[in-house]
C-alpha cells in the first residue's frame, strides 16, 4: 500500500509564470512622484502616501514625536473632525491610517477602486492640513504612555527592547522603540507636533504608491485634480547615524547574559543579537539565504534542533532586519524556565554553526527555492505590493531590484553564506534573558555564562 503511494508521488505540473506588477510612473509639476501598479482582478486598491523622515532621524529627546504625529494625522483636518473623517472614509468603504517607519511617514488606505478619487481628497486633507487638536494630543500621549507600560509587561517585548538597547550606542535611534520612551513622550506638546508636521512637507521627496485594478492614466489624472498635486519635492537632509553600535564589551572569557528577573515566569524569553547589515550593503541576497537556513524556515537549524528535536520551545527564529542603516540580527525564542541554560547554549551553537558545519547543498536549495518561489503567494493582493514598493524606495533602491531578485538569490552559494556568517561573528554578541532568575541564574552560571541579574522593576517600584 505505502509502496504504491510512494510510486504515485507527483512532481510539478505545468509551471505558471509570475511577474511582479509593472509600475507606471508620473511626476506632477510640483514634484510629487506617483507609482501606479495595475493588478487585474483586485477591485480593492491599496495606497500609501509617503513622506521623507521617520524614527531613524530623531534625536533621543524627540523620540516618539514622529510616531505620535502619524497617529494624530487621522484625528481630523481642516474640513473634518476626527469622527467626521472616519465616517467619510467608512462611507467610501475605505480604511485609512498613518504610521511612522524608520525612514518615512506613511498615510495608508484601502478602498474600492471606483472610489479612489474621493479618498484622495481625504488623504490630502490630513497630509496637508491636519487639525492636531490639543485634546487629542493629550489623549494620544496618555495612550502611548500606557502602551509603553503594556509593552514592558509583555516578556517578549521587554526582551527585544533590552536586546536592541544593548546592540546600539546610547542615543542611536535603532536602539530605542520608535514609539519613544516615557520621558520623551511626556515632553511632546502640540507646538512640537506642528513643527514636525511642517518639516514633513519641506524635506525630501513625497511619493504616492497605488496598486489595484486601476488604469494608471486615470489615477494620475485623479491625483492631478486633487490637492495632492500641491505637494512639492525638496532636498532631503543627510541621514542621522541611527545605527551607531554600542562599544564592545570589555574582554572576558565568558559570554555575558543580562538576565532580567521576572519572578513567576513559566518561560524564559531568550534573545541573542549582533549588529547586522544595511539593506544596501553588498551580499544582501546571501544574507537572506543565511537567515533562512539558520533561523527562517520551519526546517531551519534553530527550529529543527530547539523545537523538533529537543522540544524546548514552540518555535525559534533568527534573521537580519534590513534597514537603510545597519539593522539588528536577532534570535528569538521562549523556552521552559528549567531548560534556559541548555537552550541558550544550543541556540548559540546553531547561530555560529555555518562556520563549523558548512551549509549543505540541500539547505541551500531549500532556502533559495523558498525565496524565489514565494513571489506569487506574497504578492497576490494589492497591500503587500504597495508595501514592497514603499520599502524599496524608502532605502533608495530602484524597482528593478525586484526583477534581479530571483536570479541573485539563485546565484548564492555556500561560500557567500559563509562570508555572511563570518562578518556577523565579527560583531559583538549580546544576550538577554527575561525570566525567573531564581530558576534560571544558577544553571546559566553552571553552563559558563557571566550572568548579570537585573531586578524586577515592578518589585522595586
Amino acid at each position: 500500500m505505502s509502496d504504491a503511494r510512494a510510486a504515485m508521488r507527483p512532481g510539478p505540473g505545468a509551471p505558471r509564470s509570475y511577474a511582479f506588477p509593472r509600475a507606471a510612473e508620473h511626476r506632477t509639476a510640483n514634484g510629487l512622484r506617483i507609482l501606479a501598479l495595475s493588478m487585474p482582478g483586485r477591485p480593492l486598491a491599496a495606497l500609501q502616501l509617503l513622506f521623507h523622515g521617520g524614527a531613524a532621524a530623531e534625536s533621543p529627546a524627540e523620540s516618539g514625536l514622529t510616531a505620535l504625529l502619524a497617529k494624530l494625522l487621522t484625528e481630523g483636518g481642516d474640513r473634518h473632525d476626527a469622527d467626521g473623517l472616519v465616517e467619510a472614509a467608512e462611507l467610501l468603504g475605505a480604511s485609512i491610517g498613518a504610521e511612522a517607519g524608520w525612514e518615512r511617514v506613511a498615510i495608508g488606505a484601502e478602498v474600492p477602486v471606483a472610489r479612489i478619487a474621493p479618498l484622495l481628497d481625504l488623504v490630502a486633507e490630513i497630509a496637508l492640513s491636519p487639525r492636531l487638536p490639543e485634546r487629542e494630543v493629550e489623549r494620544l500621549k496618555a495612550l502611548r504612555l500606557a502602551a509603553i507600560e503594556q509593552a514592558h509587561a509583555s516578556p517578549r517585548t521587554r526582551a527585544t527592547e533590552a536586546l536592541l538597547a544593548s546592540i546600539y550606542a546610547d542615543g542611536a535611534a535603532y536602539g530605542r522603540p520608535p514609539g519613544g520612551t516615557p520621558e520623551s513622550v511626556a515632553a511632546i506638546d502640540r507646538d512640537a507636533l506642528l513643527l514636525r508636521h511642517a518639516r514633513l512637507l519641506v524635506e525630501g521627496e513625497p511619493l504616492l504608491v497605488v496598486a489595484g485594478e486601476l488604469r494608471p492614466d486615470e489615477l494620475f489624472a485623479a491625483v492631478e485634480a486633487s490637492p495632492l498635486a500641491t505637494l512639492r519635492a525638496h532636498p532631503a537632509p543627510p541621514p542621522a547615524g541611527a545605527d551607531r553600535p554600542a562599544p564592545p564589551p570589555a574582554p572576558g572569557n565568558a559570554p555575558r547574559v543580562a538576565l532580567h528577573d521576572r519572578p513567576g515566569s513559566v518561560q524564559s524569553e531568550l534573545r541573542i543579537g549582533r549588529l547586522g547589515r544595511s539593506r544596501l550593503a553588498p551580499g544582501f541576497h546571501a544574507a537572506l539565504v543565511h537567515g533562512e537556513i539558520v533561523g527562517g524556515l520551519f526546517g531551519s537549524r534553530l527550529n529543527r534542533v530547539l523545537r523538533e528535536e529537543r522540544g524546548y520551545t514552540y518555535g525559534a527564529g533568527a534573521g537580519f532586519d534590513f534597514r537603510r542603516g545597519r539593522g539588528p540580527f536577532t534570535m528569538r525564542t521562549a523556552v521552559e524556565s528549567s531548560v534556559t541554560a541548555p537552550a541558550l547554549a544550543e541556540a548559540r551553537r546553531q547561530l555560529s554553526s555555518p562556520l563549523t558545519d558548512p551549509v549543505t547543498a540541500e539547505e541551500l536549495d531549500a532556502a533559495r527555492d523558498y525565496l524565489r518561489g514565494t513571489f506569487p503567494l506574497r504578492f497576490g493582493a494589492a497591500p503587500p505590493v504597495v508595501a514592497t514598493v514603499a520599502g524599496l524606495t524608502a532605502v533608495g533602491l530602484p524597482l528593478s531590484d525586484l526583477d534581479e531578485y530571483r536570479e541573485a538569490v539563485a546565484a548564492v552559494d555556500a561560500a557567500a553564506v559563509r562570508r555572511v556568517a563570518e562578518e556577523l561573528e565579527s560583531e559583538s554578541e549580546r544576550i538577554v534573558v527575561v525570566g525567573d532568575a531564581s530558576i534560571a541564574a544558577g544553571p546559566l552560571r553552571d553552563e559558563g555564562f557571566d550572568v548579570e541579574v537585573i531586578p524586577d522593576a515592578a518589585a522595586t517600584a
Binding site: G13, P112, L143
Partner: protein, 429 residues
Amino acid sequence: MAAQAALAPLPIRDGRLSNGLRLITVVDRTAPIVAVNIWYHVGSKDERPGRTGFAHLFEHLMFQGSANVTKAEHLSLIESLGGNANATTWLDRTNYFATVPAEWVELIVWMEADRLATMLEGLDQEKLDNQRDVVKNEKRSSYDNQPYGNAYIELFELAYPAGHPYHHPTIGSMDDLDAASLEDVREFFASWYAPNNAVMTIVGDIDEEAVRAAVERHFGGIPVNPSLPSHPDLQLAAPLGGEVRREVVDRVPDPRVHFAFRAPVISSPELDALSVATLILASGRGSRLYRRLVREEQLAQDVSLSLLPFAGGASLAVGAATLRPGADPERLERTFVKELDRLAAEGPTETEMRRARAIAESEALAERTDVEEIADTIGMYATLLDDPEQVNRDLAATLAVTAEQVRAAAAIFAAQNRIVLWYRPERER
C-alpha cells in the same frame, strides 16, 4: 454599487468520492496559486474527560510524518516550493491548509492523502513526546506567560457549564497533555480521521478535471469509517440566567474588563444581524464603543467586541476594554454596558447602517482576493452547515439586514446573558 457588482458568485463544484470524502473545487485564475484545505469534523468538543487538549496535540502529530513523508518533511517541502501551510484546532473542527504555486497542487493532495492513509506508520513514542513538549511550550508562550493570556479560557469556563463540550480549552491542561499515550493517538485517528469525516476544498488556478481526478487517485483507496462516532450533545440545559462575574488578580499592567454573551449558533439567520451589531459597536475608530470609551470619555486604552460562531449550544460574543490609567473601572464597565443597552433599545442610525454596509462590502472584496480564506470559509460551511453555497450568500445577507433586526439582535447583551471578567493587577500603579 460598483463593489457589489464585482462580487460574482464563486463557481463552486461540489461532490463526494465513494468513500465519503467531500470534494469542493473552485476555479479562480486571479493569481497563479492554489489553496488546498481540509476540514476534519473533530475538535476539542469531541475530547473525552482526562484528555483535554488532545485534538490539538493530534494536529501537531499530523506533521510528524507518515509512511512516505519523513518527520518535519511536510512543512519543509511546502516551504521549498514557495508555499505556506499550517493547521488549527478549534471547538468544532481541525483544519489543515496549504497554499502553493499552482503547479504543485497535486503534491499537496498526495501528502494529505498519505497522512490520512498511513499516519500511524510514521508514529512513535519519541515523536509524541517531542510534540507534547512543543505543545506545552505553546501553552506557556501563548497563554500562561502572557499578560491576560488565559482570559478566553476563563470566559469559556464561565459561559458553558462544567461537563459541556465547550467548557474546557482547546489547548488543554498540562496534566491531560502528560497523560496522552500512543494508544490514545491510534484510537483518535481510527475514530475521527476518515474520508467520510472530511471536506477537501481546492481553490485557485487549477485544471478542475485534472485536480478532481488526482484527488480520486490519491484518496479513492482510503477506506470509509463505517462507525464514525457521533458528536456530543451541545444543547445547553438552561440559559445563563443572570449576570456571571469573576475577578482574576494577576501580573497585568492595567485592569481590563472582558465580557462574554451567549449568542445564536452558526446556522441561525440572526447571526447576520448580530455581526452588523458588533460592527457598529466596535469595528474601527468610528464605532460606538471606540468613540465613547476611548475618545470621548477616555476611560479605555482599547475596546473590542466580536463574534465566535459555534455549531451547537451557543456561540459567543466576546468583548474587552483595558482601563486607561487613572480612570474609574466601575465607570468603564457601566459605560460599556450602557452602549450595548442603548443599541438594544434604540437601534442603529441610518448612517451607521450605511457605514456598516460599506465596510462589509470592502471586507468581502478583500476576502475574495485571498484563496486561502475562500477555501477555509467554504470548508466551514460544508462541514458545519452542509451548505458550501452559503459563501455566495454571505454578503447579500449582511447587506439585507435591517436596522430593526440589528436592534433585536442586540438583545443578547442583556444583563441576564452577561459574563463579566475583570483582570486586576497584583500591584496598583
